[in-house]
Structure formats: structure tokens, C-alpha cells
């Protein structure tokens, strides 16, 4: 493990230089807790006056939030004047720490970077030990905005003349990220507009469909898309300007005309390689004019001694042995018929291409051939007879004789590149202007498919109540309600399922057992979520998380401490889970006009859920 400064030494160094109170940002909750533990072995005590001051402030907070009276960290905090503050703590404990800090009772707070975005919580000094934070399972570098947010906690207005941001190296630090963050300009922010099902339903409830495009156009998303489109439009104007000298010539659209011509021209030469004057019959026959073949000429017959292609034109040629012993080189076209008869012949590499003996033999055999010989049937390929359609149109082009031909040829490469760019930009602009609307329409299609919207894009009876569910995974929840998955389910089961839908953290841990009833209900929910996955990302649906809520609601005598003992989940996380479940349940409670029994069950769950710690904060 590479080193970093020991927390006790760190605080000591800060105290010496009068840099306290300080907020020390650490990588993880565990690091904060371990830093606190490391003080257990020190002998440093605060002077009694300060211990008393901490006690006074704590008593005030405990009056308001009795749940923290027994908090295990209180003695440590009072003894050393240092506290930890992170998402694993109860909100009321965090309030206590904030209150202590505000009264100047603490020397330091160990916190995670979530604090930076959270509360108004300044100090004289912030200590930065990391340059990256955990975001959705991955560590990513802090952005400039985040570094400044963190550093911004240094220096209390009216209490400090100067604030200090102190970097101390740890294994998780890249100094460049921090210095860039401290000295740079914060990043531009971008719209994160997502079109959700409840948004579509609520918008269609309030406004007719033909106003939708106008409403979407008011979003910051569209504003930023328009900005991008405008950049492209400026580029497009520039391309237009560059294209001006390439205006109409003999033909109005010479660029595409030339492109087509050029294409056809290339195509044509490609299709007829080296046999411009070779009729298809000859080409077909040529394959069969092998050594020894008897070929019919216009007046006589001959024997093929060899076949070859002429040197210059590459035209098909044959060497023939004619009756009487003449050996002639003649084009293959001279052959009128190819007979189905091959004579034996011993080939030779040089003139006369076969041994003198076999010439004698061949001549004799040629004389002896019967006057009628079977003709070799040769199939002439059809497509060769009818030339390619494109090639045929070559005659239609005026380009070869056009006066601006050379100019077109010269400019074409540049002009067509510009033209392509122009078309690409035009398409991109189109997409930028309409993408939001297309996404909106996709959602409409899905809602029509499930029957929340009528074919005329009016809210159906189902849609009327479904629009009141305005939380994540709304489609899954409304579909569950429609499938009556919760009919007869106890408030505890209902709340448990809601919390498994609400919880989106996959941190592992130990959890209580789930009841068989909850298990089968969750299986049902999981199946439905799976089937909805093309339309909505399925939630994690953790059974172990659901079990916590089930225990809390199923057993009203269970105390907060008792619940915390059943799991390794941090207090603050349990609190957040239950608070979020509460939010989901209150959305279900909103359906009391259409689904009275469900709403009743939800409100019972809410009433049981909200006890102890959960009752303290508004």
C-alpha cells in the first residue's frame, strides 16, 4: 500500500499552522471511518472548555432529533473534536455534525465528496486526497467543476480572511487533475433531457398533440441541439459559398452528371477488358480450339496446332494445319465451325508446334476424315450478347463531346467532395431539429401499444391514472397495478416490492431472509420487468433489499437499532432506502380514486414505515 499521511498527523499538522477547522475529503466512507478509528489510540484530548461546547451543541441537536442520543461516535467526537460525515450516516447525525461545524466546535471533518454537492458546510481549509470519484461502479477523474465545488468549501465568509485548499498525495491522486481543476474554467453543462412515459402522459393530458413539438422546442435540450445545428448551418453556408464557382455549366447539375458519366465510363472499361473487338461467339469458341481440334473454315477444314493471343491487341489467334500441309497463323474468327473431333498430336514448344512425325500423321488423318462431321454445340453466353444496361446508356451522355468537359473533369473531385459534405450536413441538421420529436413519438407508440393512449393519442381511462405515477420505472409500476399483482398483498409485501424497484445500488452485504410470499411476488415482478425491457430498463429488483423493508413494516415493534443489526447495510443507506420507498408508496397512495384498496394498503404501509428515525425529519 503506497503511503499517505496518517490522519492523526494530518490534523496535527493543520492545527500547528492554524489551518483548522478543515474538511478532509477522502475516497470512501470506509476511509472516513478508519480515519476516525485511528484517533482511538491517540492521547490527544480537547481542553475541557471545548468538550463542554461540543456537548452543549450536541444536546441542542438531540432535543430535536432524539435518535442520535445514543450515537456510538459521540464520545470520540467530544474527546478529539473530529467527526466523520458521509452518506452512510443518518441524516440527523449529519445535521449534528453540520451544526457542530457551524458553531466552530470541530477541528476537522472527514467526508466523502458527496458532501461537496450536498450541504452548506464551509471550513477554513479543505484537504484533497484524491483526484477521482466513484461514479456508477467506475472511478472517474474529478471534473473542473467538481474540484472547484470541493475547493469552494474553503474559506468561511465573515469568519476567515483566507481559505486554503491543501492537496496531500495518496494512491488515488493525479496532481495534474487537481491543478487543472483549481486553475481552469469550469466545464459547460449540457442538457440531460430524457423523455419519460409520465412526461408524455402529463403533457398530453394538458396540451393537444399538435402543440407538443412547440413544447419540446422550449427545452434546453432543443436549445442546445439548435446551437449545434446553427454551427452546422454556418458550415453549410460556407460550403455554399465555396460551391458558387461550380455553378451550372452546360448542364444545370453538372456535378452529379459528371459523376454518373465517370462512373459509367469506369464501369464500362471494367466490364470489357481487352476484348473490344471480340464477338461473344468467338470468345465462346476460342476455349474449344485446343491442339488437335478439327475446325471448319469457310471452304476447307483444318487442325488446330496451338491457340494464343496476339501480342498487341490480345486478339484470339490459332495456328492451323491446312490440308496440303500449309501451317497458317490466323485469327480465331476465321473458324466457322468447331467439330466434335480431336486428332492425336504430339505437341512441341516451337514452330511447327508439334513433331514432324505427327504433322504427317495429322495430314493423313485430315484427308481421311468423313465429309460430314458432328458439330460441337457451343453455348454462347446470353449476357454477353446483350450489353449491360449502364454501358448501353453511355451513348446518352453528352459529356464526351461537351465543351466544358475538361473543366468538369478538373473540378469534379473538389466539387463532389463539397457536395457530399453539404448533403451530410443537411442530413445532420435535419436529425438535430427533429430528434426530440422522434423520441417523443417512440414513447407515444409504446404507450398506445400498452393502451395508455388511444389511437387518436388521447389519454385512455388507464392513462388518466397512470400519469400520476411520476417516478422511475413508472411503466413497470403501472403495469403491475394493471396486472393486479398487489391485490391481496399485505402492506409489508407492497412496500418490499416498491423498495426493490426503487433501490438502484448494487453494493453487496448481508441481509435478512425473505418470506416465501415476497419471493414469489418478486419472481412475478421480475418476469414482467423482463418482458417490458424493450420499453424500459428493468430495475435491479434485489430480494435482499426488499427483505429489509418487509421486516421494518411487517414488525411494527422492530426498533431502528434492531433493523440495523439484521444487515450490514449502513444506517444512512437503510434510511435512504426507506425514504425512497416512502416516496414510491405515496405515489401509489395518489391512486386512491381509481384503486382504493391499493391506496389503502399503501397508506397503511406509509403509516407503519414512518416511525422512529424516519419520523424525525420533515
Amino acid at each position: 500500500m503506497p503511503p499517505s499521511i496518517h490522519p492523526v498527523d494530518l490534523i496535527e499538522a493543520l492545527r500547528q499552522k492554524h489551518l483548522t477547522p478543515a474538511i478532509v475529503f477522502l475516497t470512501s466512507r470506509r476511509a472516513c471511518d478508519e480515519a476516525m478509528e485511528s484517533f482511538d489510540h491517540t492521547r490527544s484530548f480537547l481542553p475541557p472548555v471545548r468538550q463542554e461546547a461540543i456537548g452543549t451543541v450536541l444536546r441542542q441537536v438531540i432535543d430535536q432529533y432524539p435518535s442520535i442520543a445514543e450515537h456510538p461516535l459521540i464520545p470520540t467526537v467530544q474527546r478529539i473534536g473530529v467527526a466523520a460525515h458521509h452518506a452512510g450516516h443518518l441524516p440527523s447525525w449529519k445535521i449534528a455534525v453540520e451544526e457542530l461545524m457551524r458553531h466552530g466546535c470541530l477541528d476537522a471533518v472527514f467526508a466523502t465528496t458527496t458532501l461537496a454537492a450536498g450541504v452548506d458546510f464551509p471550513a477554513r481549509t479543505v484537504v484533497i486526497t484524491q483526484s477521482s470519484i466513484r461514479k456508477a461502479r467506475d472511478f472517474t477523474d474529478l471534473t473542473i467543476g467538481e474540484v472547484q465545488q470541493v475547493a469552494g468549501r474553503a474559506g468561511r465568509r465573515g469568519k476567515d480572511l483566507v481559505g486554503f485548499a491543501i492537496v496531500t498525495p495518496s494512491p488515488y491522486i493525479d496532481l495534474g487533475v487537481i491543478t487543472k481543476g483549481l486553475t481552469g474554467q469550469p466545464e459547460a453543462i449540457n442538457s440531460q433531457f430524457v423523455i419519460s412515459y409520465p412526461m408524455v402522459l402529463n403533457l398530453l393530458k394538458a396540451h393537444p398533440l399538435d402543440q407538443m413539438q412547440a413544447i419540446l422546442a422550449k427545452s434546453f435540450a432543443q436549445f442546445q441541439l439548435n446551437q449545434r445545428a446553427e454551427v452546422l448551418e454556418r458550415k453549410l453556408d460556407e460550403i455554399h459559398r465555396q460551391l458558387e464557382p461550380y455553378g451550372p455549366r452546360v448542364c444545370t447539375d453538372w456535378i452529379s452528371q459528371w459523376q454518373l458519366f465517370d462512373h459509367v465510363r469506369r464501369q464500362r472499361t471494367h466490364r470489357t477488358p481487352m476484348r473490344r473487338h471480340e464477338p461473344p461467339e468467338v470468345a465462346a469458341r476460342f476455349h474449344f480450339l485446343t491442339t488437335g481440334r478439327v475446325a471448319g473454315l469457310s471452304k476447307s477444314r483444318g487442325v488446330v496446332l496451338r491457340q494464343y493471343r496476339s501480342k498487341g491487341q490480345k486478339s484470339p489467334m490459332v495456328t492451323l494445319l491446312r490440308p496440303g500441309g500449309a501451317i497458317t497463323e490466323c485469327p480465331a474468327a476465321i473458324v466457322t465451325e468447331v467439330f466434335d473431333h480431336v486428332l492425336d498430336c504430339v505437341e512441341a514448344p516451337v514452330y511447327p508446334w508439334c513433331t514432324p512425325d505427327s504433322i504427317e500423321q495429322l495430314l493423313r488423318e485430315l484427308e481421311e476424315l468423313p465429309p460430314r462431321l458432328p458439330v460441337l454445340p457451343i453455348l454462347v453466353p446470353k449476357e454477353e450478347l446483350i450489353p449491360d444496361a449502364i454501358v448501353q446508356t453511355l451513348g446518352d451522355f453528352s459529356c464526351p463531346t461537351c465543351p466544358s468537359r475538361s473543366a468538369c473533369q478538373k473540378d469534379h473531385a473538389h466539387a463532389s467532395k463539397l457536395r457530399q459534405e453539404q448533403q451530410r450536413h443537411t442530413k445532420a441538421i435535419q436529425a438535430l431539429r427533429t430528434s426530440l420529436w422522434h423520441r417523443f413519438q417512440e414513447k407515444i407508440d409504446a404507450l398506445q401499444r400498452f393502451g395508455y393512449l388511444s389511437p387518436t393519442v388521447q389519454l385512455t381511462e388507464t392513462g388518466e391514472w397512470a400519469r400520476l405515477i411520476r417516478i422511475d420505472h413508472s411503466l413497470l409500476i403501472t403495469e403491475l397495478v394493471r396486472a393486479e399483482a398487489f391485490s391481496g398483498a399485505s402492506p409489508a409485501l407492497l412496500a418490499a416490492v416498491m423498495s426493490s424497484i426503487a433501490h438502484d445500488d448494487d453494493r453487496p452485504g448481508a441481509f435478512p431472509r425473505i418470506s416465501p410470499g415476497l419471493g414469489s411476488l418478486l419472481a412475478q415482478v421480475r418476469k414482467l420487468a423482463e418482458s417490458l425491457s424493450p420499453f424500459e430498463d428493468p430495475p435491479l429488483l434485489r430480494a435482499d433489499i426488499a427483505a429489509i423493508t418487509e421486516q421494518w413494516i411487517g414488525d411494527p415493534t422492530l426498533t431502528w437499532i434492531g433493523l440495523c443489526k439484521k444487515t450490514t447495510m449502513a444506517e444512512g443507506d437503510i434510511y435512504r432506502l426507506l425514504a425512497r420507498t416512502l416516496e414510491f408508496l405515496s405515489q401509489l397512495h395518489g391512486l386512491r380514486h381509481t384503486h382504493p384498496s391499493l391506496a389503502e394498503s399503501a397508506s397503511q404501509a406509509i403509516a407503519t414505515l414512518r416511525r422512529g428515525v424516519l419520523e424525525e425529519l420533515p
Binding site: 503511503p3 494530518l10 489551518l19 450541504v119 468549501r153 465573515g158 476567515d160
Partner: protein
């Protein structure tokens, strides 16, 4: 080599070399000074004298063959010289002519300012004045006093018998503000709405999370008005940089789009890169123009420091304050210490 010879040889070496020698031999050697380090090394050398000596000689030979170390690591044996601005070829920037700030000067001025009557900053006054004419977006560094603008704006709107809604992204923040506003305006004039609870929902100043406001606006648009939106005079959106939050940003957009036209919008945001874009956007969709109040000067000036694991504190930059736009304008001492830290923590054999 006798022990005395070895000790003499070690004493002659720069501390950097000793640290490299100690890597893997001495636990937590980075916390030790040179004398302690030599002591520790000698104690260790008893275990494997041959290996120790050969490693030491190899390091010395290595050092002599590359007499000039990498630029990032100025000669360690002369830190004083480095601290006094010896020109350094690799990191030469025009600003480097002035000598880096000394620790004493950097630490000067810590303390509590004398209590003085609160006088609003000009930008705060300007924000409040502009709010009379249209929407306002405030983009200033954290801790500059955005809350003052929110409180004053709310007070003025309530004096005109208009309702004020204040939203924040987090329930925890809402609670803090609720307590704060109750102290300022009195509990009977402040209400809070959360997902499932309404306290004093008829109060002229309502605090809620942005999601709740969005839902209210949807309900109002759907015809089920359950809030006096017609008397709504001011909507304050705190921490509006949440507009860029991947999951929740859309809620801020919806809220701004559907905010009733007679209500003024006051967006309070930390420093962001493109506040003028947001102002332009608001101007383009709302009937009144949107004014941008923006500055990047902190009320309490900020200084950056570097604390080495051995407890040595130095300024991080060559200047007293933050040198905006010059991320490489590091204090030579901080640069040296960090390079040493990296060198020590790097797995052996791998060099930057």
C-alpha cells in the same frame, strides 16, 4: 567494505538515492530523515550485506552515468537553490522570472476578519435589481453569498403579497433551508412540501425539492390546481447546475419550461462554463428577458497548498493565490516533493 566505510559512503549520497535504496528494505522509509534513514539502512544491511552493497554501488554507478536527473526532479541535495527560482530549462515559462512565494508569506493573513456591518456586494444588488425586470440567473463561486440574494428576493416578493417557491435538489438541503428561513421570516410564513408530507402548505414561502414543484406544475397544467399558482410571484431554483445531472437534470428543464409566465425565475448556480447559454435559453422561451449575473471572484480568497506525507507543508503554486489558467505553474518545492512521492510509490522498475 567495513561498516564505517559503508556509513561514510551512505552519508555522501543524496537522500533521494537513499530512499530508492530503502525501497522494499525499510518499512515507511519515506517518513524518515536522512540520518534516521542511514541508521535504518545500516541495520537492515546486516541481513544481506553483499546484496545491499552491490545494490548501493549499482545505484551510484547509475547516478553517475546520468548525472542530470529527469527535469521533473531537480537536484535534491540543493533544495534551497531550487526554491530560489533557479531557471529550469524543462519548465521554463515567462512567468517564472519572479521567484516563488515563500511558505511564510503564503500562510500570512490567516485569521478572523473584524466584525463589520453586512454590506451587500454590488453583484447581489444587481441581481435583486434585475429581478424587478425579468428572470435572473446567478452563476458565482461556492460560498459567495447566493443565499442572501434568495432571502432578499423572497422578502421583496412576499412584501408584494406574492407566493415564493424555493427548491433545492436534496431533501437535506431543503431541511437546512427550512430551518434557516424559519429563523429569518418566522415559522408561520414558511412551509415545506416533501413527497409525503405537507407542513404549512398555505404559507407564502414554500420550500420543496424540484421534483415536487415539477409535479405541482403538471397537476396545475392538468387542471387540478392545488396550489395558488396564480399568485406565484417568484420561483427560486437553488443549485441549478443540477440541470446537467444525468438522472435528474430533466426535472429542472421541465420545471423551467412549465413555470407560470407571471412568476419570475431566479436560478442560483455554482460556477459553470456556459451560464450565458442558459440565460439565452431562458430569454428564448420566457416572455421576460433573462439577465446573467456572473463573476468568478471569490469573497474569501483561496490559496492552494501541498502537504507531503512526512508533514511538510509548501504552497502548491508559485503565486500566493491560484494562478488561473496556468496549471503547470507549480511551486518548485511542491513539484519536487510530489515527484519524490511518485518515485517512491511507483512499483520498482517502473519510471514515469
Amino acid at each position: 567494505m567495513t561498516t564505517e566505510e559503508l556509513e561514510r559512503l551512505l552519508v555522501e549520497q543524496p537522500v533521494e538515492l537513499l530512499h530508492r535504496l530503502a525501497r522494499g528494505r525499510v518499512h515507511r522509509h519515506f517518513r524518515a530523515g536522512k540520518r534516521r534513514l542511514i541508521e535504518l539502512l545500516l541495520r537492515h544491511s546486516a541481513e544481506n550485506r553483499q546484496g545491499f552493497e552491490s545494490d548501493l554501488l549499482a545505484l551510484i554507478a547509475d547516478r553517475q552515468s546520468h548525472p542530470v536527473g529527469p527535469a521533473a526532479r531537480p537536484a535534491v541535495e540543493r533544495p534551497r537553490a531550487a526554491a530560489h527560482g533557479r531557471p529550469h530549462p524543462a519548465h521554463h515559462e515567462p512567468e517564472h522570472h519572479e521567484s516563488p512565494v515563500a511558505l511564510g508569506a503564503w500562510l500570512e493573513g490567516i485569521g478572523v476578519p473584524p466584525p463589520q456591518p453586512f454590506v451587500p456586494d454590488p453583484w447581489q444588488e444587481e441581481a435583486l435589481a434585475k429581478l424587478q425586470q425579468g428572470d435572473v440567473i446567478v452563476s458565482v463561486p461556492t460560498g459567495s453569498g447566493k443565499t442572501y440574494v434568495a432571502v432578499e428576493a423572497a422578502r421583496r416578493a412576499m412584501e408584494e403579497n406574492r407566493t415564493v417557491i424555493y427548491t433545492s435538489p436534496l431533501k437535506a438541503l431543503s431541511n437546512t433551508k427550512y430551518t434557516e428561513f424559519c429563523r429569518i421570516f418566522g415559522a408561520e410564513r414558511v412551509g415545506i412540501l416533501t413527497g409525503d408530507r405537507r407542513d404549512n402548505a398555505q404559507a407564502p414561502l414554500l420550500i420543496m425539492t424540484t421534483e415536487i414543484l415539477r409535479n405541482l406544475l403538471y397537476d396545475a397544467a392538468g387542471g387540478e390546481i392545488d396550489l395558488r399558482l396564480d399568485t406565484l410571484g417568484l420561483v427560486i431554483l437553488d443549485e441549478s447546475q443540477y440541470l446537467a445531472d444525468p438522472e435528474r437534470g430533466v426535472v429542472w428543464e421541465e420545471t423551467i419550461i412549465f413555470c407560470p409566465s407571471q412568476a419570475r425565475l431566479l436560478l442560483l448556480s455554482a460556477s459553470i462554463g456556459n451560464p450565458h447559454d442558459i440565460a439565452d435559453w431562458l430569454t428564448s422561451i420566457r416572455i421576460t428577458p433573462c439577465y446573467l449575473i456572473k463573476h468568478s471572484k471569490r469573497t474569501v480568497p483561496l490559496r492552494a497548498g501541498y502537504l507531503h506525507p512526512d508533514g511538510k507543508l509548501t504552497p502548491l503554486f508559485r503565486t500566493v493565490g491560484i494562478p488561473h489558467g496556468h496549471p503547470n505553474y507549480l511551486h518548485p518545492e511542491a513539484r519536487r516533493l510530489f515527484a519524490r512521492y511518485e518515485d517512491e510509490t511507483m512499483p520498482s522498475g517502473r519510471r514515469r
